[in-house]
Every structure is written in structure tokens, then in C-alpha cells.
Amino acid sequence: MLHDFLVIGSGCTGAQAAQTLIESGGRVALLDVGEKDEHYAPLVPKEDFLRVRRTDPEQHRYFLGDRFEGVPMGSAKGGAQLTPPRQFVTRNAAMLAPFRDTEFKPVQSLARGGLGAAWGLGSHVFSDSELANCGLDRGGMFEAYETVSRRVGVSGARDDIAPFSLGGLQSLHEPLAIDENARFLLSAYEKRRRRLNESGFYLGRCPLALLGQDQGSREKSALRDMEFWSDHGRSAYRPWITLEELQRKPGFEYLPGRFALRFHETPDHIEVTVRRTDTGEREIVRCRRLLLATGALATARIVMRSFDYRRTRLPMVCNPFSYLASLNLRMLGRAGSELRHSLAQLVLFYAPEPAAPDHVMISIFSYRSLLLFRLAKDFPINYADGKEFLRFLQSALVLATINHADFPSDEKFVELVRNSEDPAGDALEGHYRPSAAEKDLIERKNRRIQRAFLKLGCVPAKRIDLDPGASIHYGGTLPFSTAEKEFHTAPDGRLYGTSRVFIADGSAFRYLPAKGPTLTFMAHAHRVARHALGLGN
């Protein structure tokens, strides 16, 4: 069978590209491994966190996991949101898509919905200069942002961070209520706004792909504080929601249980070699046009194989990432809001030069639904007293994730190396060594951010700089180029060296600003799908 369009990957970008293709009348097949959770999802009740904690005798099964996989035994790493009900997101990735252990520790997914199945939902629009630095033009992206944000449902407020996060986005849901901890921070910011703005700091509500009003079969967020554990009500956007809708449409075919290895372009069609995950057998899937949406690292792997290893080293960018725990002194002794969501309440931008491409984005969370024991392990105190002490502190805790912009360099790359243990005969290896100047700049910015938290009435307690790869934002492996060059992407998303293969994920982004890139990746996927349809901008 020859498919008109074949999309590989069912994550945020694959789902959006497929939707665009289907809505334009294309006949589309979407192929992925399709790991999913059928074990924990039925166990989690549709109740708010406090009620669950006080009443559900089975809560240990999903909070800790039936194999206790939810009790982390080492130091803090990225991916804290991968709770037992979310761990299917990375299941079998190490086996089917091996990544050698180096200083670069990526998170990869073969799940139905990809990494989007555990996405933190932060939805930010890139500025014109950021788009230009990535290799994109605003004209093409403007409509794409609107389309995608209407589909996924983005709630947000037009406050001080709107110029950084919302651009000209029109289709916004009402902002969700923020919790007491965030309200105190926001009021402290409002009192010192002028001084903070002069230092380059801007605080506002975090735009989230979490519904502020009902949308189709999806419910407005009930603020149950269970977003790390379940997708009840479908309030949080997950790519599998799009996939389920697509499966009901004529012209769409879903091909799970298949891991894409390589493609080969013939004069009139493309042959994609896949390995079936049930039998291990190889299979050929044929299509007229191919859209790769497996994420920058997996797409790099497929392309290097498909071009017969003519190049085995490709550039890569990945946002440097830190956690910062601080204490909001005005919250000490308070119980905090009962109803709230678990995701970023606020976002702080550090932009001393608003036109520069190296802003820092700090997402601000309150702590509750990940339970106290996860917190206790990172404090140098005994567990018995620590439990009492951290219980007192938890409502006042402000957890921030700090994302820095990343630019390409010769010391940041992925390499495909021979690996006889892998059935495909190779494994990826990531190398990420920022220069001393980059490290120094990041450290200086981090210190300024800590000082800004003090001005907001928060005492920084601990900062953890995570291993490269922990931000789970990857790009730049097949960068945009206006000149035809192998292992580069044309501005319309076509992969040079091919005539009908399109790159629909973040692989082509030459740099990553310090913003959650998912909304932009999805908008880009929509735009690439339109080009694949021959519709252009």
C-alpha cells in the first residue's frame, strides 16, 4: 500500500502535522512504537489531590509504583515529572534507540504521544528575533501559532511576560487561578516592579496548554493538582488526544508497534524500513511524502542511517537547565491553596537587553503533589525530623526551573557510533561541552536570578545544575539553511538531498532560546505539513 503522507512519531509535532494534513484532505498514516500506560491510568481516581491523599487506600500503587519505581534513590535529575503513571514515556527507549552514556544524558520517548505525554505544558511564542535566529520567519509562523494554540487550548494572561511569551497570540483561554504562594510572589513583584524591570526581570502568569474553559470533549481544568499523575478530563493537552480524534477521521491510519530505522527515496515514492516491535521483523512502509517528527535526536539517527552514514556527526543544541529551591517567607505557617494545578504557576524572564537572543526563562512552581519524600532525599537532614520540618516548609517552597538559551558550537554534537549489540548496528552518543565563557555567563545569570528571588521575598535554599540533556529540549541536528547542503533543512522543512522528505520536529532549529519550545515546535510542524501539501504559507 502506498500512503499519500507518512508521519513518523506521534508526539506533539507528529500529531499536529498529521492533523494539518488530514484537515486539508490528505490521506495520512502515522507510525510510531506507541508505548502507553494501561496499568496505572485506571487506578488514579478523578478526585483532587488532598481528597486522594486522605481517602484512597490504593494510592501507593500509583504514587510509588507497583515496582516502587517512583521512589528515586539518587540525587536530583531532570524528568522529575516522570512519575510511575508517566514512566511509559521512556519505556524501551534505551533498548530500541540506544544512547551511549556520556556527559550528555537525554530523555527519549517511544510513547504514544512521545515526550508530550509528560510535557509540562508551558506554551511560549518565540519573538521575531528568536525565530530569525532559529532560521524561521515570523510571517510563516504567525498563522501557525494561532492554529496550534486554538487546537491545544492555551490559557494565559496579558501581563508583564506577554511580550516575551505570547507575542501577538489572539486565541487565549482565560488564565487559570494561581495559588496563594504565587499570589504572594506576584504582589511582591508588583510592589518592586520598576526596580526589577530596570534590572531586566519580568514576572507574570505562565501560559499553559491547560484549559481555562471547556473545549469540545475536553474539560476546563478543575485544579485538582493531579497533573503529574493523570489526564482526567483531558484538561491538559496531550498529543494522544489529537491522535484519538484523528483515528475517527476518514483517510487516517495509525500504525503502532513500528520503530523507524531508515528511509530510501525512489523516483516516485519513499520506502521506510521499520522494525516491528512485536516480532522484531523488518517491514517496508511506502509513501509519497514523508514527515519525520521523532524529535531532533531520533530524527538525526534516521537521517544519518538513510544517507548511508556519509556523516556520522551532527550538531546539537539543548537548553542548559537548573533547579532552584527557595522559600517564600510570607507563606511560612500557611496551609496553601487547596485547589490549584501542579504546573508552573508563574514565569520570570530575565532579559537585561530585551532585543538580545539570550534571555533566561524561569518557570515557578509550588510544591505539593510530588509528595514530601522526594524532597526529603535532597536535604542533608535526618528523615524523622526532616519530615516534620519539610512539612512546615512545603507550602512556602518555590521551585524554579531555569532554562538558558543555547547556541551551537563545535563541542556540542551527536555522533552515530557502531554498536553490535543494537539490532540496527549503531548507537547515538551525545557530547555537550559548553565553553568556559558560556559556563561563566550562565553562572553569573544564575546568581542574578537568585538575587531577584530575594527581592521577591524568597530566600534561595539550594540550586542544582543538572546534566546536559536534562531540559528535554533538543534541536539543531539538521539546521535550516537557505543554500542546498546535505544534512541541512530548507526553509520549507524539506530535507536537502531529498525531494519529498520533510523535517517536522525541532531538528532544524539552529538555536534554542530559553523558552519552552513545544508550542513553537508544534507551530513549525503545522507549517511544514502545509508545505508538504504544497500549500506554502
Partner: protein
């Protein structure tokens, strides 16, 4: 003993069973002879466990001994029976006085624990050297 140390009361049999189940599944790292020695000392009483836990929190926070304690803490927390000991609450004046006591105990335990574990480590390394 672990439940008594962490909660201040004997936990239900169900928690002990769950802990044993987790250990059988290999939830914690393997202990070496040094860890086992500390573990045996800790198991003598909740007080000795507090000293060992406090000392290790600074010397070796992710040691297999601390991993066992963390596992039991997680098991105890993830239950409605103990939720009131873990969920946030509004603190009154009396609670603040109690909390000051906790902070004092915690600080004292940290100092003593650090010394105890350092001393035990010194004795252990001497013992190992002598036996060689």
C-alpha cells in the same frame, strides 16, 4: 523499628509487608560491610537510627542505609492512614513552639550524628587495616 523511628509509632503490618516486598524487588542499593555495620547499629533503637541517619545525611546522603529509610518514609507517606503527618497545614503558636523543638533536635542530631559516623568510620578503617 523503621516505622517507629520515622513516625514515632509502630506502623501497621501492611506497611512492613510493603517494605519487605519493595526490598525483594531490589528497590534499594546493595549494602557493603560498612553499610551493614551502620545499619545494625541503627536498628538498636530509634535514637541510634537518628544519629546514623543524621550523620549519613551529611557524609553520604544516598547511601544504601539512607535509601532504606527513604523507602520506608515513602511507603508510610503514600497512605491515607498517615496523610495528616505529611500534608501541609496551618500552623498555630503551639505548632511553632513544637517546630522549634524539632529544629533544635535536628541540629543536635546533625552535630552528634556527624561525629558518631566519623568516629565509626575511623574505627572501621583501622579495623580493616589491622585485619589486612
Amino acid at each position: 523499628m523503621l516505622g517507629l523511628y520515622l513516625l514515632g509509632k509502630r506502623p501497621d503490618e501492611e506497611f512492613v509487608r510493603r517494605y519487605c516486598e519493595a526490598m525483594a524487588l531490589g528497590a534499594c542499593g546493595r549494602m557493603n560491610s560498612w553499610d551493614e555495620r551502620l545499619w545494625r547499629i541503627g536498628l538498636r533503637s530509634p535514637r541510634s537510627m537518628k544519629l546514623i541517619d543524621s550523620g549519613l545525611a551529611m557524609h553520604s546522603p544516598f547511601s544504601p542505609v539512607r535509601q532504606r529509610l527513604l523507602l520506608m518514609l515513602a511507603i508510610l507517606e503514600a497512605s491515607p492512614a498517615n496523610s495528616d503527618q505529611f500534608l501541609p497545614k496551618k500552623y498555630g503558636k503551639l505548632d511553632f513552639i513544637k517546630l522549634a523543638g524539632v529544629v533544635f533536635r535536628m541540629t543536635l542530631a546533625a552535630v552528634l550524628g556527624w561525629l558518631v559516623v566519623a568516629f565509626l568510620r575511623f574505627r572501621y578503617s583501622r579495623c580493616c587495616t589491622t585485619s589486612l
